[in-house]
Amino acid sequence: MKRVALPLLLLLAAMTAHAQISLSTVVGTTETPVTTVYGFGQIALGDTKDVVFRAKNAGTSTVTVSKLAMSGSGFTFAGNPPIPYILAPGGHLDFTIHFAGGTATNYSASLQINTQIVTLLASVVSAPTLSVASPCTGPDSQNAISFGRVQQASSLICTITVTNAQTQQVTLSPITVTGSAFSTSQAAATVIPPGQSISFPVKFNAASAATFTGTLTAGIRTYTLTGTGFSAPLASPQFTFDSSTMSSGEQHTLSVKLSSASPVAASGNITLGFKPASAPIADDSAVQFVASSKRVVSFTVAQGSTSVLLNGQNNATFSTGTTAGVITFTMDAGAFGISGDATASITIAPAPALLTAAGASRVATGLKITLSGFDNTYSVGTFSFSFYDRNGAAMGSPIAANLSTNFQTFYQGQTAGSSFLLLANFPVNGDATQVGGVEVTVTNSAGSTRTQRMSFP
């Protein structure tokens, strides 16, 4: 009883497994059921073809794939399927079958998975050979044809040549191109006489800076088409300022145009740099783009435009600070690149001290003079105070004061510019009300500045 029962149980188990396993082919995420026959189709002589199969447990209990075998010529397993393989309910085993036919004829084989048998068919046929002309390359071993790199918004046409080396004419059909970036004017089918060739163009249009793919099907062969669009560097920028001459203590606007239309919609930054002319000063933080208090402003330029927007505006306002030196603007377009000089410089020349406010007042026992301004040379020190009586006559000689040490101390480590507020008190012996006015001369390394006459109230 046992000798009979065991094979019966195995048979029942195999039948159950057969019923539970469903076979399909897989392309990407698409599964196509396979029943008893599966055709690899026509395959050009010399070509190979791989097909992925999926054995899936469609039942509700575990099943073991204990046999996965192939008999026949031309078909082989790619790799070694891990047999035995236990499939949980819903689980699957993927395996690849590789076809490589040696001669132009029909091929068949039997694929067995457990007790299920599928007949595999393939037909190897002589096919015309395809070649591409420079600058395209290929087809390679993966039947890939490359159009290389093409500047964005331009196109490249490659000539495809198909040669019939056979002794009888060949109808090349279909001839199709897919992919939005690729096109051909070639008819969908054509006859190639024996020993002859035909050529047709395939156009690659690089609409943007990206990699594009498509396919070319010529008869039974399908080729992958690839091409990459790239953006040309931006043309050199033209920096324009609202004034041809600039001095310290001013605000000016910067606007930028490209010398020719931008090939792409691009963006980047314009950086402001400052190098003080006088060594003791490391920097002047007031030299900046004012709206953001920063030394960088972002820019954008539209495709086909020469106008560069700075932080979304037509121009950007910057301060010249209160330090002599060189202000530099540098445009950086990052990966877009810039051809030519992307830098502009402005020299802020050393100048006599500029006084923005001056005042004279009386205090309890003397006079107080207030001066506000800046010295972009950081060398101010010599002051001369000329006092006048109420009738406008000079009162003695001007009083000189050397405040160099005071200013050097004040400017030490200063990075916010050279602006200063000087408060000078003058004790007066006698009747201070006789003093009617004062003029102050301020001298630095670039020259002297004299105030208007200030009246003491």
């Binding site: 310290s248 003397g366 507020l421 408060l423």
Partner: protein, 269 residues
């Protein structure tokens, strides 16, 4: 705060000391005044008008403010605060309305109560009924004190009027501001030397002698007194400084990085 204290120390009268001339010279960084930055923080502005730098915020959430060289008044969430050499302190808990400076302190007109509030360090607040017909946009003390009454800029009957109110409450119109329907006036600011009006593209300085000067600025919606001689014009595209003097200067004030908004998660208990 320490920098701020120095500002007011510098701008306040110096004690008299008998010393050689050079020793009597003091050098400081000039302060243009205070500004309300794009994040509504009050900051000192240093340097010269066209090349200014900003100090650290003194306080935040400022709605309006007015500063002289010696003192600031500001409104924040309905509270009036004063800022001087002694620091920042609240002087009123619930007072809303246009602020103006006086020689000694500040004026505030409350449209809600119809009261004119006067503040001075010695007396604190004193309130008096002061009926003003219209929406008060700006006010100033006439003559610097309060004895000469106040001037107000107000909207009434669809028009913009500048009126003088004497101390006894009697009113007289001293100017009607012509307003183009296509270029409405968005802000007005009374000051000692005249007044400012802002339309969509222009700020106009009208001096007491009637002369005018225009400055280009987009979308100015408010004016604040930064100091005795400086006015801040606030717009969504940047803040400007009008530095008054013989030749008024008009420059962009440094901007600040917008504050990052923080998402607040509310968890039900």
């Amino acid at each position: 705060m320490r920098r701020l204290f120095r500002i007011f120390t510098v701008l306040s009268p110096l004690p008299f000391v008998v010393l050689p001339v050079t020793a009597l010279a003091q050098i400081h960084q000039p302060v243009l005044g205070m500004m309300r930055d794009g994040n509504s923080a009050l900051r000192p502005v240093y340097g010269v008008a066209a090349s200014a730098t900003l100090g650290d915020p003194v306080t935040e959430n400022v709605d309006t403010f007015a500063c002289s060289n010696a003192r600031c008044f500001l409104q924040s969430a309905g509270t009036v605060l004063t800022l001087d050499a002694d620091g920042l302190r609240s002087i009123a808990d619930a007072a809303n309305g246009p602020l103006a400076l006086t020689n000694e302190g500040a004026l505030l007109y409350s449209s809600q109560t119809g009261e004119l509030l006067r503040w001075a360090p010695a007396t604190g607040w004193t309130a008096s009924a002061f009926a003003i017909d219209g929406l008060v946009l700006s006010l100033r003390s006439a003559g610097g004190g309060i004895g000469d009454g106040i001037d107000v800029a107000l909207r009434r009957d669809g028009g913009l009027w500048l009126e003088h109110y004497s101390a006894d409450g009697s009113a007289s119109v001293f100017a009607a501001v012509a307003e183009d329907s296509e270029q409405p006036i968005h802000a007005v600011h009374l000051m000692e030397s005249g007044y400012l009006i802002a339309t969509e593209h222009t700020v106009t300085l009208v001096r007491t002698d009637g002369s005018t000067q225009e400055f280009p600025a987009e979308g100015v919606r408010a004016f604040f007194a930064m100091a005795d001689s400086s006015i801040e014009a606030v717009s969504s595209q940047g803040n400007w400084i009008l530095h008054l003097g013989d030749s008024p200067s008009w420059n962009l004030l440094p901007g600040v990085e917008p504050l990052a908004t923080t998402a607040v998660a509310v968890v039900a208990q």
